[in-house]
C-alpha cells in the first residue's frame, strides 16, 4: 500500500471533504505546491484556485477554494477555506452566468471566483 496522508478540507461553516490521499496539489500565493506523504510541516496561504486531491483509491477530487490556508503536520493535511466547493457541487451553468455578469460589471473578484469554479468543474471531467 502506498503511503497515505489524511486530508481535511474545511470551509468556515462545514466540513467539505475528508479522507485519505496520496497527493494534494494546491495553489499558494507563491505558486502551486504538491504535498505528498511525509512532507515537511508546512503552513501556507492559499490563492483562489482549484485544489486537486488524488485519493488513495485512485480517484481524483477537485474543489474550488477561495482564499484560506493549507497546513500540513504529522501526515495530516488541513485545507482551510472561507468558501470551498467540490467540483460536483458546482453548477456549471450558473458559474458561466456569473462569469458573464462579472465581466459585464467589471467585478474582478467575482470574475475570479466564477473562473475558479469553472476551472475546477472542467478539471474534474
Amino acid at each position: 500500500m502506498a503511503a497515505e496522508l489524511h486530508v481535511e478540507l474545511v470551509a468556515a461553516d462545514r466540513q467539505v471533504w475528508s479522507g485519505e490521499a496520496t497527493l494534494v496539489v494546491a495553489r499558494t500565493t507563491s505558486g502551486d505546491i504538491g504535498v505528498m506523504p511525509g512532507h515537511q510541516p508546512l503552513l501556507g496561504v492559499l490563492e483562489s484556485g482549484p485544489v486537486t486531491i488524488r485519493t488513495s483509491d485512485g480517484g481524483t477530487v477537485v474543489a474550488a477554494v477561495h482564499g484560506g490556508f493549507v497546513s500540513f503536520a504529522d501526515n495530516k493535511l488541513s485545507l482551510l477555506a472561507e468558501v470551498a466547493e467540490l467540483s460536483d457541487e458546482i453548477d456549471v451553468q450558473r458559474a458561466e452566468q456569473e462569469l458573464e455578469r462579472a465581466k459585464a460589471e467589471d467585478d474582478d473578484e467575482a470574475k475570479r471566483r466564477a473562473d475558479v469554479r469553472l476551472r475546477a468543474a472542467t478539471a474534474a471531467r
Partner: protein
C-alpha cells in the same frame, strides 16, 4: 348569563388564544435551537484548525505583528456587543447589555476610551434610547448568521485595530456574547479578541501540552500571520454570533415555556372563578324564587284569615 360570568368567559377565551401562540413560539424556538447548535458544531473544525495554525505561527516564529503585541499604553478599546433582533427571550438581551456595560465601565476605569459596536436591533435600541454613541451597528441576521455576516462585522473592527491610535484606531478589541452552555444555561461573557494572548490560544489548541511541529512557512511567517489573523478574528466572531443565536433561541424557548405554563395556570384560576360566579348566580336565583314563593305563601295565608 350574568355580567360577571360573561367577563370571565371572555378572559378565558383570550388567554387560551395567547397560550396557543406562546406554545407555537416555544416549539419553533426549540427546533431553531437544534439547528443553531448544529451550525455551531459545523463551524468547529474550521475554528480548531485555525487556532492551531495561529498558535503554530505565533509560537514557532519570532514574528512581531500589530495584532499580537500589546500596546504600551492602550488608550482606546473597541467593544463588540452581540444582542438579538427580536425580544421575547427573557433576560437574554438585558444580560448581554449589562455585561457590555460592566466591561465598558472597567475599561474606562483603566483610562481607555471605548468605542461600541453593536449587532442586533435590541442592543441598538437600548443605546439609542440612552443617546449613547455607537460606532457602528448591524441588524437583520442574528437569528441565522452566515459567515458572510461575520466577515461584514469583522471588517471595520480589523480596520480599526490596524490603524494608529492617533488616527482613530483602537488598541484592543473585546467581544461580549452569550455562551451556549446547555439548553438550560446560557451565560453572557466578555472576551478579549485582540491583541491575541498567544499562551491562552496555545492552551486551547493543545490542551494536553502537545508540542507543535516546526512549520515551513509559505511564503513567509509574516505573510502567513498577516493573512491568518483577520481570518482568526472572523472565525471567532462567527462562532460568537452562532453561539448567541443558539442562546437566544434557547432563551426564547424557556421564556415561551413559562408563558405557556402561566397561561395554563391563569386559565385554571379563571375557570374556578367562573364556576363560582355561575354557582353564585344559580344560588341567588333559587333564593329569589324561594323568597318570592314564601312571600306569596305568606300573603295568601294572611288573606285567608
Amino acid at each position: 348569563m350574568g355580567a360577571q360570568l360573561r367577563v370571565y368567559k371572555r378572559r378565558i377565551r383570550s388567554v387560551t388564544a395567547t397560550k396557543k401562540i406562546t406554545k407555537a413560539m416555544e416549539m419553533i424556538a426549540a427546533s431553531r435551537v437544534v439547528k443553531a447548535q448544529r451550525k455551531v458544531a459545523a463551524s468547529a473544525p474550521y475554528a480548531t484548525e485555525l487556532t492551531r495554525a495561529v498558535t503554530a505561527v505565533g509560537t514557532g516564529s519570532n514574528t512581531k505583528h500589530p495584532l499580537t503585541t500589546e500596546a504600551q499604553n492602550p488608550a482606546r478599546a473597541a467593544v463588540l456587543l452581540l444582542t438579538s433582533d427580536r425580544g421575547l427571550a427573557g433576560a437574554f438581551n438585558s444580560n448581554s447589555i449589562k455585561a457590555a456595560e460592566q466591561l465598558t465601565a472597567r475599561l474606562e476605569r483603566d483610562g481607555k476610551q471605548v468605542d461600541t459596536y453593536i449587532v442586533g436591533r435590541r442592543g441598538v435600541a437600548h443605546y439609542n434610547f440612552r443617546e449613547r454613541k455607537v460606532a457602528e451597528s448591524w441588524t437583520g441576521f442574528t437569528d441565522e448568521p452566515s459567515y458572510a455576516d461575520a466577515k461584514r462585522v469583522a471588517a471595520p473592527l480589523i480596520e480599526a485595530i490596524e490603524k494608529e491610535t492617533a488616527d482613530g484606531g483602537v488598541d484592543e478589541l473585546h467581544i461580549v456574547y452569550t455562551e451556549f452552555v446547555s439548553m438550560m444555561t446560557q451565560t453572557a461573557l466578555d472576551a478579549r479578541l485582540l491583541p491575541l494572548r498567544l499562551d491562552e490560544v496555545a492552551a486551547e489548541a493543545a490542551p494536553k501540552g502537545e508540542i507543535l511541529p516546526l512549520y515551513d512557512f509559505e511564503p513567509s511567517a509574516e505573510d502567513v500571520l498577516d493573512a491568518l489573523l483577520p481570518r482568526y478574528v472572523e472565525s471567532r466572531i462567527y462562532n460568537a454570533l452562532l453561539q448567541s443565536a443558539a442562546s437566544k433561541h434557547a432563551a426564547t424557548r424557556r421564556a415561551m415555556k413559562s408563558a405557556t405554563d402561566n397561561a395554563g395556570e391563569l386559565i385554571n384560576t379563571l375557570s374556578r372563578l367562573a364556576n363560582a360566579a355561575r354557582q353564585a348566580e344559580i344560588t341567588q336565583e333559587i333564593s329569589e324564587i324561594v323568597g318570592g314563593a314564601s312571600a306569596l305563601a305568606d300573603a295568601t295565608a294572611g288573606s285567608d284569615r
